[in-house]
């Protein structure tokens, strides 16, 4: 394909953002619709990419490969495979819908939508880059708009949340930068090309750094960077704050797409490039996944604030991804990536629904409602669907991916998996309990005149619901897309690990 589809899908949003910067600030609708157009176009291109993707070929496709800074062998190298394609589909999909959730952003709309679109480009760039330097640039570029989006349009503690998010992530990134440089210098000629690095994995595994195995040192450096993004316990403390303080659409982006960048980073770089270190760290990783599952669920159970509960549910859901991907089995790996996609759609619904009720009631106290199902039946219905998807009800997409993660992990980490299933129960507990407190029981007289969900809000939720239901009943199309690449990835890690004596 000479169509530069990946460049297009990455840079269309930022072009929209630049156009918005030139629209006078009074022309609100022009600003909004430009944002819609940019993300819609991006979504369209992502469908074209899906259409021309060859699912029989597990290797990278639609490659765009140019020399960028030749003095340092830095390349403009983009390509996708079965690991990145689900994310390439997810990003424009969620971004497009999140634009509609941002419709009523109160002030400085021009800045908001410009930054939003810049954020979109940053995220997409991460998922299509195959040069580590390029990857890092996109990874960092995404921080700047996020800082402003939380800090300017967020809740009461927005400034603290914004700087905490920024400092945390930057801390992770600088360690990642060090790991990246160490990788760069581990090969002759020096390269950031992830494919070359992957093929040279056995050589990297032999090197020494600071008297230790280079692969392990680099793995740990990258680990911190990615773990903060996921976030893996104990690096998660920025998340509840940022998610709660951010405006609805940004929470959707944070939970729906941003968190995936962490696990994507593991699977794109750490796993194939440092397989021996990956196997060395697989068990701790699974245990961290277990902690995420149990801790996230327990913390969610304890929350009084609905948005915080949803935020903690993300920690729980990302735990399944960690468990699945550390098992190094085909089922676990497919489950992990599928869960990344599903969590993106489900959590987007959850945050949007929280936003809907917050816009009307101006609070998110779970105990502050009561019996509103009678007043807002449609809303209650959609919430029920999202909540069930969140707790992993069979027939909805979350179930399939969680089940795959467990199936994949069970033969490898039997006891961990058994404990992890406890998480499912806790998961159901907090979702159902909160649902009950909000919607059932006697009607709180304050909400006598609660408005029903409006058409715009409903239509942003319906596409998500359709995807959740469809993939819950018939997951094969999505699994087909990724299984080739992921099975190959499992093989790469296992073979390389065996050579290194695991």
């Amino acid at each position: 394909m000479g169509a530069h589809l990946l460049t297009l899908v990455t840079f269309i949003p930022v072009l929209g953002g630049i156009i918005i910067a030139f629209i006078p600030r009074e022309k609100l609708d022009a600003i909004r619709w430009t944002a819609v157009a940019a993300t819609a176009l991006q979504l369209l291109v992502s469908f074209v990419i899906l259409g021309s993707y060859d699912r029989m070929n597990p290797d990278i496709q639609m490659v765009e490969h140019y020399s960028w800074i030749p003095a340092f062998n830095i390349e403009y190298f983009m390509g996708i495979d079965g690991l990145s394609l689900p994310m390439v589909l997810l990003t424009p999909f969620i971004s497009f819908l999140a634009i509609f959730s941002s419709w009523k952003i109160p002030k400085a709309q021009k800045g908001y939508f410009s930054l939003f679109l810049l954020l979109d480009t940053g995220m997409m760039g991460v998922f299509v880059s195959l040069d580590f330097f390029l990857f890092y640039i996109f990874w960092e570029v995404m921080l700047l708009p996020m800082y402003f989006l939380i800090g300017m349009w967020g809740g009461p503690k927005k400034e603290y949340a914004a700087i905490k998010f920024f400092l945390y992530t930057l801390f992770g990134s600088v360690l990642m930068l060090l790991g990246m440089l160490a990788l760069y210098f581990s090969l002759e000629p020096h390269t950031f090309n992830m494919i070359i690095l992957r093929d040279a994995a056995p050589e990297i595994g032999q090197k020494l750094l600071l008297g230790m195995n280079a692969a392990k040192v680099i793995f740990m450096l990258l680990f911190v960077g990615f773990a903060i993004k996921v976030p893996i316990f104990p690096f998660h403390t920025w998340l509840p704050l940022a998610h709660v303080e951010a405006p609805t659409a940004i929470s959707v982006i944070l939970a729906g797409i941003l968190l995936k960048m962490g696990t994507y980073g593991f699977l794109r770089i750490s796993w194939p490039v440092l397989p021996s270190a990956t196997l060395w760290f697989a068990l701790p990783m699974a245990i961290l996944g277990l902690i995420n599952i149990i801790y996230g669920a327990m913390a969610a159970l304890a929350q009084k604030d609905l948005k915080k509960m949803v935020a903690y549910s993300s920690i729980n859901h990302m735990g399944y991804v960690l468990l699945g991907m550390s098992a190094m089995t085909a089922a676990g790996m497919n489950g992990a990536v599928f869960q990344m996609f599903n969590h993106g759609t489900i959590t987007a619904m959850l945050f949007m629904l929280v936003g809907v009720v917050y816009d009307r009631a101006h609070h998110r106290d779970i105990d502050g409602f009561g019996g509103i199902a009678a007043k807002v039946p449609i809303y209650a219905g959609v919430v029920a669907l999202a909540w069930f998807a969140g707790l992993g009800l069979p027939g909805l997409s979350g179930f399939i991916s969680e089940a795959l993660c467990f199936i994949g992990a069970f033969p490898v980490f039997t006891w961990i998996t058994i404990f992890a299933t406890l998480g499912i129960v806790l998961n159901a507990a907090y979702f159902l309990w909160s649902y009950q407190r909000i919607f059932f029981g006697p009607l709180n007289p304050k909400y006598e005149n609660l408005e029903e969900i409006n058409k715009r809000e409903l239509w942003t939720l319906i596409p998500l619901a359709v995807v959740v239901i469809f993939l819950g009943i018939y997951p094969a199309p999505m699994l087909d897309l990724m299984s080739g690449t992921l099975n190959q990835l499992v093989d790469i890690v296992k073979t390389a690990g065996m050579m290194a004596g695991f």
Binding site: G151, I163, L167, V174, G211
Partner: protein
Amino acid sequence: MDLTQLALSLKYFIPEMVLTGFIVVAILYDLFLKPETSHRVGFVAIAGLVVTLGMLYQQQGIPATGIFANMFALDGFATFFKWVVAIGAALAIWMSLDTKELENRRVGEYHILILILVLGMFLLVSATHIISIYLSLEMVSIMSYLLAGYLKENSRSNEASVKYVIYGAFSSGIMLYGLSLLYGLTGTGYISEIQAQLVLGQVSPVMLVLVTVLLLAGFGYKISAVPFHFWTPDVYEGAPTPITAFLSVAPKAAGFAVLIRFFNVALSQGDPNTPSWLALPGLDWPMIIAVLSAITMTVGNVLAIQQNNIKRLLAYSSIAHAGYMLMGVVVADQTGIAAILYYAGVYMLMNLGAFFVAIQIKNIYNTETIADYAGLGFKAPWIGIAMAVFLFALTGLPPTAGFVAKFYLFRALVQFGDGFLWLAMFGLLNGVVSLFYYMRILKAMYFDKMEIPEKLTAVPLHFNVLMFILVVPLLVGWMFGDPLSIWAAEAVQFFF
């Protein structure tokens, strides 16, 4: 040393002679001006710098040469710094014409002093003999004292100048002692001959360490490295802001130039232009500098967190940046020095930019307090965006050139091997610390007061143009082939 040889050297000295010519013209022109029109000297000064840059451009391609009996060198290394200094000076004069601090005051001498300062730095970056090093260093210092105290009736400006003089005299005295010891030990003042003597290994290592430490007092003072930094915040706060901006960039760059040249030639073995170059055996100065670098960046960053005055904050941040650049000196090989050159160029753009915004805000609101920046991002969107770019660049975040500059420094450190990975770690974590205080400014500008609809109209157009000139190279200058890095790599060429 016959006269014909000296006369032959003159053709390698054209930029300096042009600059001197303009200094004379400026002095004469100033005689005919009334105080209220004396700012016109600034235009002469800018013209002089532009012509000088043209002459520097003419010198491209000349192989490294010693001039005036090898007291000075004309090489790629010196030329690179001359560019940085001259461009920085032109921008500083541009801003001086705009600042209200210098209003109602005779400013002819001010611009002339800046030009003389530039001439001093031209000499400093190319000096290759301990006498020429010392003399040009003093020339730079004395002009800096005068300029820092230019606001005569302002007590802070006076304090700045006096502090500057006292610290400066003290540390240059210490350095002079070190130079005299070195001369006594080796019997020569040419830095390349000093190397030839020291390599013989007849000088005791204790003596060498002592000399190194004494010299670092002088150089460290010029680049404001800890523990020779105490003058920096007070001088930066008291001096007229364009001068502060200029001092934070140009003399610092020139200080780095002479530091690198001295350590790389005199205290090393082998030709610094070849890969076989090594630090002098028995004198682990890379380690000394590494420790200095780690302390400098940490102290600068930690103290910056507390500051509420923008000039003081940027002063401490400039200390931290000296620490970052010292990381390149630690690995004083080709990549390390190229990284410093690149950093010096980028640092000039981003630091001048941040100071220029501070000047403009002071012109309009007469404040230097960060809290008073509240809502500025909405009142003056263009200044806000420009400031955000400068601050992100100073933090070292992509997609700005500030990131690339830091990246090259870390790259040099990691490439060096395991030895200085700890320093790279230090530098990276310091970057995270610096994020906190740089973002305090952005927080004030964007988060603190969001609803101010009316725009600020007092910003002159030419200031916006200046911001544009600084922002564009920072944002996209490196994305297309990165010409500065190619130039920096070629410029690592010493006269030896």
